[in-house]
Symmetry: C2
Subunit: 735 residues, 2 copies
């Protein structure tokens, strides 16, 4: 094993240590007044109670799937014996990352509110460092899991040749990605339903019907809403990005092992180590970036924004530069089928640039500093219908630039890796280039996630301030912090979306690789391909593609594309309706309380917060099951019925439609949210005008778009790939 | 030429003669009172004025494209010299079909209203027979154009062998399909923007703000709204279905010519004649079906519905039966590579069954006789936001069954044709089976379109009755006619959607065929494929697929899939925003009139109808250009930049995402419309309650979903294929 590997566990430990330091620092701060503590306690308990419920359901699903994989491995022999265990650890660490992040956030919100009373800067520091706890926990746990499995499998897996062992090790490790994806999907869907049921319900009765502000303590759904921010936006996001982070690294490792299979172990190892080392360096750069985010007392808003951007930009630029060094040190010198060190580095740069562009364009379409969202707000003057029509239109149009950007990035990442030779002979190397670009984009996740996660913390701090009836200036400041975060988080989201598309492409290739392993399991050592006889283990991706006729004229492939496209919509529809149904229940309950409990609106009587918490908890727990299981069962069925050609069609169709749908939903939702804020700032009639009510309808519709269905799609796409990969052995046995 | 061919021009003439008879019969009826005549005249003039404007724009586009094709044909020699002319006639006949249908509809509406005063049955007869004028005009003109080009090209095209001539003739004829698709897209997009701008604007101010009923003469946008029904729902639909009808026949002919290329002219001819003959027989069956729709005076509602269904069902069942006869007579006997006569007939039956299932499921999700729409209406009690969220969810979920149905139909149509052998050797035959299934679904378009087109006529009759202030019972009766039509039209729509998906698949294969012709044009007579040397003209689809590596791992293909998926969304977003923008202008104008012109609301003063007509006309004319051109330019650019692999990816991605998106938009829109009607029938508070206003918001949002963006998608998918086919020569020259 190359000594560079030890950078990986080392980075994992460093990340976790710094996460612990930031956590301890935050815990030393005061939570503020008695009311503030009390409210924070409410929210914390609600969030923990929900997470326990969610994990109960998830544990059952994991148990069933682990048994299934064990049967496939030990009963039918179509799978590696390590699979069930790898699957379980992936799920465990992903859940742990979400849990730690959420626990931190629930401790941090009152402290942030309290510190904001002192100064904006103090608030920023606590919120941002708490976000960094989550960022560093995600990358730390991710690299830890990768290190452990790498060491274990390296010690135990003994195939015919060392090169073959590396292929088996890396593809086995992919199955822990499936565990992470499964956990992430449940977390995103369950958390997303929870938070949006509460949010939509609270807004409809509170803002539209009663004209009371957001997070007003008189609103019975307000605690549920704040709990929701934690379980959805924090825990859900943590599990989600854990999955993305590990998925990109694991897919690249697997592609590296197979792309250089014929060159032997030493060369393979370089390609396998590259993504791990880049990720390890990214951890260090993230920590440096986090420390750069510090401002002087009395700093202006612009200073704060500059400070945040400086942190993320610095990390991104440094990783682009240091990637050249990594490939140089690893010895990518243009021999043994390896490209030159600068070639793959340029692939990474293409990916990073694509992420920045997608982030910027997202900001353009969703921020109310720009025309599209301002025009959307303007259309509120003609009522909610035109707000919805124009918002849907805006979101759909906004997909154009991200898709073209990703398309160009794919071709550049491939082209840079292969010297712009696009042919079947460069396929493996080109796909490796695409995959490593995704790793580059996510390598500084430690800090980009911090800028993302600190938003909900600031948001919750605002909620705490409002409910504790602190001076309105505190709420104003936390709102500034929140919107600051939205701007800087755009880049992070651009990286997350872009890398998801690239990783999903890499997973398509990994699926083909896994089919080869499947042939090994069923004892098929040679294949007849186009009249030639090919050894299964050294078959190229193109050979497998030809063997199963994975061309676009094969009806199985076309049927798969139809079903894949449909899956994206069906999944969104189910989660959307789940939010709709739960929100209706919430509205009915909130209306009931206002009607039946005298004195709520005058602030003389406390509303019954727990009944609302219960509605969200129950809805999330029930409604997350069907769509999530669908994402697991459909790829299995397609594999069994239509075979590998159908599966690849399913994944490609799901990726194409799912990616575009995700961008559409996210941007429509974001634009509606900010159009509402734009009106609230006094435009087109301002707060409580007819225009405002119209934009609140838009914002409410956008809630499940941008926080439930949309973000789940990225996971759906990858989970379907992961399931297919894990089930490849069975598929091969049947076809 | 086989004597059976003469059935085709004969059927064309019969269709046109009956269309003329029905038209003359309708014209003999009285248009009613002076006011009724006056209003009908207003609507007719507005519609004609708009259509003239639309044709002006379209003529410019056609002229530019025809010159481009002429340059490609005569300048670069990468195209057949007949292409520019075929392209122009397709556009001309498609436009003519829409024009005739719309002219008929504008004459029929007042007459229908007048007849309905006598009895429901008289109204049904006039409206339905007028719809039949459009149905028969579409199929008559379609078969006429096909007959003429077949005779002309047969006389002039002389390739090396007779078999080769047939391939060239049929692929050349496909280019008239591109003309039809281009015209159809402009008609659908322009008409769709026109009608929905007026409808949305009229509803927002009239129904929500002023609480006056639909089509109230006091509403300044009401004439524009009624004009819109004619230019969008009638002229747009006519051009649309002309395109579908011809597209399915032409694609099947082209596939037939190539699938049996190696068997020689006599066998090819059987495969080419089959779709034409089935279509010709379908014309006769449609006319029989139209005559079956006749009821006794005093017939109950159930009788009327039964009578309508009897007509369409009879035609569908008879075509299924007679198809067996057609293939038997043509001599499909299992020799010379031909399947048995009953095999392809079973493919047609699979398609017809799929159409029926899609129709039924559409009805289930969008009719307020069933749970989904009733639940949607119920959610109006918690305001417009939950109506929108649940409606979007409903539409997305409703895509599942249609997609699975189409998937099964594809596999069955392929499987029946090839004896369930799925391999590269059966590919051409299987695709022919898929394509002929689409022909079967559209063969009875004469009657299914009649049941579709009579809805808007009844709707307009209701508008006329309302504006002429006839007894409210007349409006009630026309509403019954309209909703009757919605039920029977569901099957027709199922056939239209299903056949579009199947035809688009067939066009993928036609594109590959056209690539072979492209090789001929640039003088490339042999190809190197996988080490073999293949003669270009006798190359199989699989050879071309291998030559260009049209597999799902090729990055060009994957990039194409991304762009194709995005195109569906971008196109919808642009048309959606166009409606939003135009509707805003309409709202502002209607509000202005209510405010500035005294006495409108009291009915003492006529509103200024023409200013609203002008707003819709101008908006449609301007806004249709960019999205429509995009549909033409993007496939050209993808071909030029990414080559054939990218194009196939583009088309497959566009088909997958576009089909699902189209079903989603249509069903969300339909469910919102009927949820509103359900509330208007007195549920959840009834008319003018808060629930009603919430459902009106849903209905208004649904307007561009179901009548602008959604229906345009089917055309978009096929137009992109047609453009790619026509540009294949240039693409091959560059790649």
């Amino acid at each position: 094993m190359n000594y560079l590997f030890y950078l990986v566990p080392a980075a994992a430990v460093i990340a976790l240590v710094f996460a612990w330091i930031f956590f301890s620092q935050m815990m030393k701060e005061s939570e503020g007044t008695v009311t503030m503590k009390e409210i924070a306690q409410y929210v914390r308990e609600g969030a923990m109670a929900y997470l326990r419920q969610q994990y109960k359901v998830v544990i059952i699903v994991f148990a069933v799937l682990a048994v299934l994989f064990a049967v496939l491995a030990y009963g039918f022999g179509v799978q590696n014996p390590w699979v069930p265990f790898a699957f379980l650890t992936g799920g465990f660490f992903s859940g742990l990352a979400g849990y730690v992040g959420m626990r931190t956030a629930t401790y941090a919100s009152a402290r942030t509110a309290n510190a904001t009373m002192r100064s904006l800067n103090s608030g920023l520091k606590i919120a941002f460092r708490s976000g960094a706890v989550m960022g560093l926990t995600v990358v730390g746990l991710g690299l830890l899991d990768i290190s452990i499995w790498w060491i274990v499998l390296h010690a135990f897996v003994q195939e015919a040749t060392a090169a073959q062992s590396l292929v088996v090790i890396t593809t086995t490790m992919l199955t822990f990605g499936m565990g992470a994806s499964t956990q992430a999907l449940f977390a995103r869907v369950g958390g997303g339903i929870y938070t949006k049921a509460a949010d939509v319900g609270a807004d409809i009765v509170g803002k539209v019907e009663q004209d009371i502000p957001e997070d007003d303590p008189r609103n019975p759904a307000t605690i549920a809403d704040n709990v929701g921010d934690n379980v959805g936006d924090v825990a859900g996001m943590g599990a989600d990005l854990y999955e993305s982070y590990c998925g990109s690294i694991l897919a690249t490792m697997a592609l590296g092992a197979s792309a250089f299979f014929s060159e032997g172990e030493a060369i393979q190892m370089k390609a396998i180590l590259a993504p791990m080392v880049i990720a390890a360096i990214g951890v260090v750069l993230s920590i440096i970036g986090i420390f750069v985010v510090r401002t002087k007392e009395g700093a202006s808003l612009k200073d704060l924004l500059g400070s945040l951007s400086r942190g993320t930009n610095l990390s991104a630029i440094l990783i682009a530069v240091l990637t050249f060094g990594v490939f140089y040190v690893l010895g990518f010198d243009g021999t043994h089928g390896l490209p030159q060190w600068w070639q793959l580095s340029l692939s990474v740069v293409s990916g990073l640039l694509a992420g920045v562009i997608i982030g910027k364009i997202t900001e353009y379409y969703t921020s109310h500093s720009y025309k599209p969202t301002q025009k959307l707000a303007e259309s509120a003057q003609t009522g909610p219908a035109t707000v919805i029509i124009n918002g849907v239109g805006l979101g759909m149009i906004s997909t154009a630039v991200p898709v073209v950007t990703i398309a160009v990035a794919i071709l550049l990442a491939y082209g840079c890796a292969t010297g712009f030779v696009f042919s079947t002979s460069t396929l493996s190397l080109g796909l490796y280039g695409i995959s490593i670009a995704a790793v580059g984009m996510l390598s500084t996740l430690g800090i980009t996630l911090a800028t993302d996660a600190y938003g909900p913390i600031a948001d919750n701090a605002g909620g705490n301030a409002q409910m504790s009836e602190l001076d309105p200036s505190v709420r104003e400041k936390t709102d500034i912090l929140d919107s600051l975060g939205n701007t800087t988080a755009a880049t992070g989201k651009g990286f997350a979306i872009g890398s998801a598309a690239l990783t999903a492409l890499a997973l398509l290739a990994s699926y083909i690789e896994e089919i080869k392993i499947g042939f090994q399991h069923i004892g098929k050592t040679v294949l007849e391909v186009g009249g030639r006889t090919v050894d299964t283990m050294s078959a190229s991706i193109t050979d497998i593609v030809e063997y199963y006729d994975i061309t676009l004229m094969n009806p199985m492939v076309l049927v798969g594309i139809f079903i894949g496209s449909m899956m994206a919509f069906l999944f969104c529809g189910l989660t959307m309706n789940a939010v709709g149904r739960a929100a209706q229940k919430m509205v009915v309950e909130v209306r009931r309380q206002f009607r039946e409990i005298a004195g709520i609106l005058e602030g003389k009587q406390r509303p019954d917060y727990t009944s609302c918490v219960r509605i969200s908890t129950k809805a999330a727990q029930h409604e997350m099951i069907f769509p999530s299981l669908l994402a697991i069962v459909v790829p299995m069925l397609v594999g069994i019925i239509l075979g590998p050609a159908g599966v690849i069609g399913l994944l490609a169709g799901g990726l194409g439609a799912g990616f575009v749908l995700a961008v559409f939903l996210a941007n429509s939702g974001g634009a509606w949210d900010n159009a509402k804020k734009f009106v609230e700032e006094g435009n087109f009639g301002g707060k409580n005008s007819a225009s405002h009510h119209a934009t609140v309808v838009g914002d409410t519709v956008g809630d499940p778009f941008k926080d439930t269905s949309g973000p789940s799609l990225n996971i759906l796409i990858k989970l379907m790939s992961m399931v297919s990969i894990v089930m490849a052995g069975l598929t091969v046995m049947l076809h």
